[in-house]
């Protein structure tokens, strides 16, 4: 069977599976819709969190990004995993004990202030829309590359599917479809990676293969007998140097910038509402802790494989393409040339493809996404594996989109309508608002996918920076400091958000020409500035809370109660 038939088959089967799961897991109450009745097994919640977290960017783009960045690319690996340690220890168990449904609701209750709740809900909606725009585009791109349909048609098919299971099932439907999507995406990622690792190094574990030496078979595939028996990364370092690049395993970015970016990504991860709300769905507080562990375990499977995929792909790419006559190019090169992801312009007219750092000499155009997408073909795997990668990319994009849409829908129905505008609303009416909110959000997300605003790539820094500078400090102080009050939290959040947003807007939109290391404050790029915003937020909260009256006694009691798991912990006066 051809790749196209296999892809339609696998994508169709996976979509049918998601729809079936959604029908089985319909939401009947608001508790169902927002938190799946708090009845999700911690291991399943871990899988769902993994799918929720790993987006189209993690699946399709991350390995390619790393293969061009070398060791600096590890900032994404550390930054997008380390946040789960913070979640497990500093946030998830306490928020689960709180037992309600949304992040803005927690912030509003803890800081006894509707203004705080409104600030939080505006942030939540902004962060989630920023993020979801990229996902819908990702769906369209996968459709067009693998199924040869128009990008817009792909976006509409994806919208229809998410619309169906998000409005019907709410959190419950989303959770169980995400479990299914995790299984699809992890198989799709691991199968080609394991095969390539065996082919090049005889080691079936990709992250061990990356540190191994190249086997005889590997040298044959790479078309260079001299590399046999040498460590893969040493070979790669040598190749990079020959082409005029820095060594693959050396750090190139300024250390302070890497440090701040990793911190902003970690803290941002721990502050992203669509990640936090996943921990509201487990039955017990101890489940919230273990579920964060399972989530990171499932995520780490992909995240420890990605750097190996990056190194394998880069080595293979340089050795099989550079200085090869175009007529002898491997078949995957010609196949992907049609999509425009790779290209060759014979500048010196010798019929041989040259790859180099120097733009004058370099003849190869290469899109970083190719490193994952072409993997199965590079490894000469059967057609169904190629098709599986398509289904995996769709699973990654759809699962993340659904989680984000739920945050938007809950922010509208639960926080804005029920919480602020119409507190007397019945549960039935709220559920209607929630479904309506999800429906409207899907349509807006779809429009972003069809008419991608040029700034999408620019504002990803926003999502993490804002989550880091707003939610994270407010939640941490809300649990770990009884004395932090409304005034402190409001000032802190506003200062954190305004500072971070102003810095990013200035360098990304107002004056992009200035966006270079010598103009940045302390050498911190807009991607890492959320860390500084977070520190400012903490400082404001601390100082202002000292200067203003402490929170009412019942709030301090609420904080006290968050710290102990048991339901029946007697009040301090008992015994």
């Amino acid at each position: 069977m051809s790749i196209l038939v296999w892809t339609w088959l696998l994508v169709g089967a996976s979509f049918a599976l998601y729809i079936g799961v959604a029908i089985w897991a319909r939401a009947k109450s608001t508790a169902d819709f927002y938190a799946a009745e708090q009845s999700v097994h911690p291991v399943l919640n871990g899988m769902a969190t993994g799918a929720d977290w790993m987006s189209a960017a993690s699946f399709i783009s991350m390995a390619g990004l790393i293969s061009f960045m070398g060791r600096d690319g590890s900032m994404y690996l550390m930054g997008w995993t380390g946040g789960y340690v913070l979640l497990a220890m500093l946030l998830a168990p306490y928020l689960r004990k709180y037992g309600k449904f949304t992040v803005p609701q927690f912030i509003g209750d803890r800081y006894y202030s509707n203004s705080a709740r409104v600030i939080a809900l505006v942030c939540a909606i902004f962060v989630s829309f920023t993020y979801v725009a990229g996902q819908m585009r990702g769906v369209g791109v996968v459709f067009s590359r693998f199924l040869q349909v128009d990008v817009n048609t792909g976006v509409i098919i994806g919208m229809a599917l998410v619309f169906f299971y998000a409005t019907m099932g709410g959190m419950k439907g989303i959770t169980y479809t995400q479990v299914a999507q995790y299984c699809v995406l992890i198989c799709a990622y691991m199968v080609p990676a394991i095969f390539i690792s065996i082919m090049l190094t005889n080691n079936p574990v990709p992250f061990l293969g990356m540190g191994s030496s190249i086997s005889a078979g590997g040298a044959e595939i790479l078309g260079d007998a001299s590399v046999q028996g040498r460590y893969l990364l040493d070979v790669l370092n040598g190749l990079e140097k020959d082409l005029g690049f820095a060594a693959y395993t050396a750090g190139k970015r300024p250390m302070i910038d890497v440090f701040f970016i990793v911190f902003a990504l970690m803290v941002g991860t721990a502050g992203l509402p669509h990640v936090i709300i996943r921990f509201f769905t487990v039955p017990k507080i101890r489940d919230a802790r273990s579920s964060a562990g399972w989530a990171l375990f499932f995520i780490a499977i992909l995240y420890t494989t990605a750097p190996a995929v990056a190194a394998f792909a880069r080595t293979n790419f340089i050795l099989t393409i550079n200085n090869t006559a175009y007529a002898d190019a491997p078949s995957w090169f010609a196949n992907w040339e049609k999509t425009g992801l790779v290209g060759w312009a014979d500048k010196n007219g010798d019929g041989i493809m040259q790859y180099a750092k120097d733009a004058e000499v370099n003849e190869i155009k290469i899109d970083r996404d190719i490193m994952v997408l072409a993997n199965p073909e590079i490894a000469k795997l059967p057609n169904w594996v190629v098709a599986l990668v398509g289904a995996g990319g769709l699973a990654a994009a759809l699962s993340t989109a659904a989680g984000l849409l739920l945050v938007i829908s809950a922010a509208i129905s639960h926080d804005l309508m029920k919480g602020v505008i119409m507190p007397g609303m019945s549960e039935k009416a709220e559920l209607l608002w929630a479904r309506g909110g999800a429906a409207v959000a899907v349509c807006i997300a779809g429009l972003f996918g069809i008419y991608p605003p040029g700034f999408v790539a620019q504002v990803v820094a926003f999502a993490f920076g804002l989550a880091a500078a707003s939610f994270f400090p407010a939640i941490i102080m809300g649990v770990f400091s009884k004395k932090t009050n409304k005034e402190g939290a409001l000032t802190g959040m506003i200062v954190g958000i305004v500072f971070t947003a102003a810095y990013i807007i200035y360098f990304k939109f107002v004056n992009p020409a200035m966006n270079t290391a010598e103009h940045w404050w302390f050498g911190i790029s807009p991607e890492g500035i959320g860390t500084l915003g977070m520190l400012l937020n903490f400082a404001c909260m601390f100082v202002i809370s000292k200067l203003t009256p402490e929170p009412p006694q019942e709030i301090q009691d609420l904080v006290e109660s968050l710290r102990f798991p048991g339901k029946n912990v007697p009040p301090p006066t008992a015994h």
Partner: protein
């Protein structure tokens, strides 16, 4: 022990665990993976420098272990102070 003091002791032990585990969290990623990665690269583990290993693989694996350890410690602590859920 009086209930109030018991609760305080529970919380204090929890904070101690968090402090120790987050120090390791900081050490493996920010210290070994970024700040002293270049120096650590002089030590080789198979075909990889140690700093490169920490940044690309080691941190992620150790993060998982840290959460597992915390979960076990807290489950024990919940029982010790009798605040575990039924």
């Amino acid at each position: 022990m009086e209930q109030n003091e018991k609760m305080k002791a529970y919380w204090k032990e929890n904070l101690t665990y968090i402090t120790i585990l987050l120090s390791i969290w900081f050490g493996v990623s920010y210290l070994c993976g970024i700040l002293i990665a270049d120096q650590l690269d002089a030590i080789r583990v198979g075909g990889m420098g140690l700093g490169f290993w920490f940044a690309n693989v080691g941190s992620e694996l150790i993060f998982v272990v840290l959460i597992i350890v915390y979960v076990q410690l807290m489950n024990k602590l919940d029982r010790k102070y009798d605040v575990h859920e039924g």
